[in-house]
């Protein structure tokens, strides 16, 4: 999308600690999770987090394809993160970039610890993530949606995986960075965790943080994950109620 070059006179965060979109430093973007949105998938979820719009769909457990990847003692678990060409300002080629390959891998690592992979030997579970609209923090939102989709598919899990970034913007530590904060800010620190198990399963960082800031930022991200976790459970509950109603009618 061609844009008028913006004068960055607008501050990312003002003296009162209010961010460009009106949020407080430790405030999440408005977030909505829907469950069971892809008819053909075994499980699926949709998340809107600020201007992010992301779909996740689960296929499996199923036979492994190609077959030589079959593992005799566990499930093959794979996530694929992919961005639609129109999800960003400048059209992205549909072929997966190196960034998308890396994110697919770290997302797989972030979610796999939550799955009882050893209960489904010789099978595969694939999670397909499509970012339809991107505005910063898509890997976290993708993890959040993917974990809910896996629950919707009935895959046995130790806990849900909830994800949220913290970071540093205009000298302040903030939660859940949007795109302009990610790009213009000082640091971005995405975190994923299983809140009930106090298990951090994704941790990345870009930018610059002093050691004490780093510690605070990790803790701030954890509070974000916990809020996201509550939204995940609500969404699953709503789905359960809806299904129950549908069955009873």
């Amino acid at each position: 999308m061609l844009k008028i070059p913006q004068k960055t006179s607008k501050k990312l965060i003002d003296k009162a600690g209010i961010r460009a979109d009106g949020r407080k430093p430790n405030e999440l973007r408005p977030t909505k999770i829907e469950v069971g949105v892809i008819e053909n998938a075994n499980g699926s979820a949709y998340i809107e987090q600020g201007k992010n719009k992301i779909l996740a769909g689960v296929y499996g457990p199923k036979e492994v394809h190609p077959r030589h990847l079959t593992m005799l003692d566990r499930m093959l678990f794979r996530c694929r993160y992919h961005m639609a060409p129109f999800s960003v300002d400048e059209r992205k080629s549909p072929a997966p970039s190196r960034r998308e390959h890396e994110l697919s891998k770290v997302i797989t690592w972030a979610i796999e610890p939550s799955i009882f992979v050893e209960r489904f030997p010789r099978t595969a579970v694939d999670v397909f993530i499509e970012v339809l609209q991107a505005n910063g923090g898509t890997r976290c939102a993708a993890i959040t949606a993917a974990s809910v989709a896996l629950a919707d598919a009935g895959i046995p899990m130790r806990d849900l995986v909830a994800a949220c970034a913290s970071g540093k913007v205009g000298g302040h530590l903030v939660l859940d960075l949007m795109d302009v904060e990610d790009k213009m800010g000082e640091a971005d620190l995405p975190v994923a965790m299983m809140p009930n198990l106090n298990a951090i399963t994704l941790l990345q960082m870009d930018g610059g943080l002093a050691m004490d800031e780093f510690e605070q930022a990790v803790n701030l991200a954890i509070t974000g994950c916990k809020q996201i976790y509550a939204l995940q459970k609500e969404a699953l509950k709503a789905r359960y109620v809806a299904v129950k109603k549908a069955v009873e009618e």
């Binding site: 639609a84 999800s87 960003v88």
Partner: protein, 265 residues
């Protein structure tokens, strides 16, 4: 591509019902499934639309970028249609570069838009032979339950009608973006209607279970004045000349119905 095996019993049921003039989901032979349309849902795109055709779910996003014209049309903008069959949409789809199904889908939608001259590409030329705008139409299939062509063509048209173009001026031979938007110049409203043949009977808008037993399909794209702009026959079967003319009549009627759903004026 791992295929979905529709049980033989169900295949027979689909065919038998159609022989009796019925369809398993209760539709008449020339009925479309329910069409749901949302537009403007992707703010990172210049235009977007999502169409549910029964359980088939297609999202189209439009991007407009600066580019160069083709050497044989130096004074026209460029139109590019691409289709992704997301593995999200069906266990029949796999990650990877577009296969022949995606290529055919993109090309059939492309021809409908191009041949009907739906977009006034001459208005997308900035400096002849040097600078034009490129319109990217990206078809994204999110759930697959048959008849991707019609659903994608609908979503593409609705997205084009929904597309905003930035204003610009030329300064020293460079495009400079100005505040405000105009509409993308859309001149025609092509509608694709797909007919499938099952047991020598013609039906409209085949669902996936019907596609899997059909002998052949025929897609005709009509412009708003009723002229035929593009045709595609698919599948390893045949039509008689009479069936083709019969199909053309059905398409004439159905294309008007669909156009009313998409184009409000």
């Amino acid at each position: 591509m791992p295929s979905i095996i529709i049980p033989i019993m169900q295949q027979k049921q689909v065919a038998q019902a159609i022989s009796k003039g019925k369809r398993l989901d209760g539709r008449g032979l020339t009925d479309y499934r329910e069409v749901q349309l949302e537009t403007g849902i992707v703010s990172s795109a210049e235009g977007s639309a999502r169409v549910h055709l029964g359980k088939t779910d297609v999202l189209v996003g439009i991007k407009i970028e600066r580019g160069q014209p083709f050497s044989d049309t130096p004074d026209k903008g460029v139109l590019t249609v691409n289709a992704e069959l997301s593995p999200l949409a069906s266990s029949m789809f796999e990650p990877g570069p577009p296969g022949v199904q995606a290529i055919e889908l993109a090309r059939v939608v492309d021809r409908g838009i191009r041949e009907s001259e739906a977009i006034a590409v001459e208005k997308l030329c900035v400096i002849p032979g040097k600078k034009v705008f490129v319109v990217f139409i990206d078809i994204y299939v999110l759930n697959y339950d048959g008849n991707l062509i019609d659903a994608s063509a609908m979503a593409a048209l609705a997205a084009l009608l929904n597309t905003k173009m930035f204003k610009y001026e030329l300064k020293d031979g460079e495009i400079e973006i100005k505040p405000g938007y105009t509409k993308l110049p859309v001149k025609d409203h092509p509608i694709a209607v797909t007919i499938a043949k099952i047991n020598d009977i013609l039906i409209v808008d085949p669902a996936l279970d019907e596609e899997q037993v059909m002998d052949a399909r025929l897609t005709m794209t009509l412009g708003k004045d009723g002229r035929v702009c593009a045709i595609q026959k698919g599948g390893s079967g045949h039509f008689t000349a009479q069936q083709i003319l019969e199909a053309a009549k059905i398409v004439q009627e159905k294309s008007g119905e669909i156009r009313k759903l998409l184009v409000k004026d």
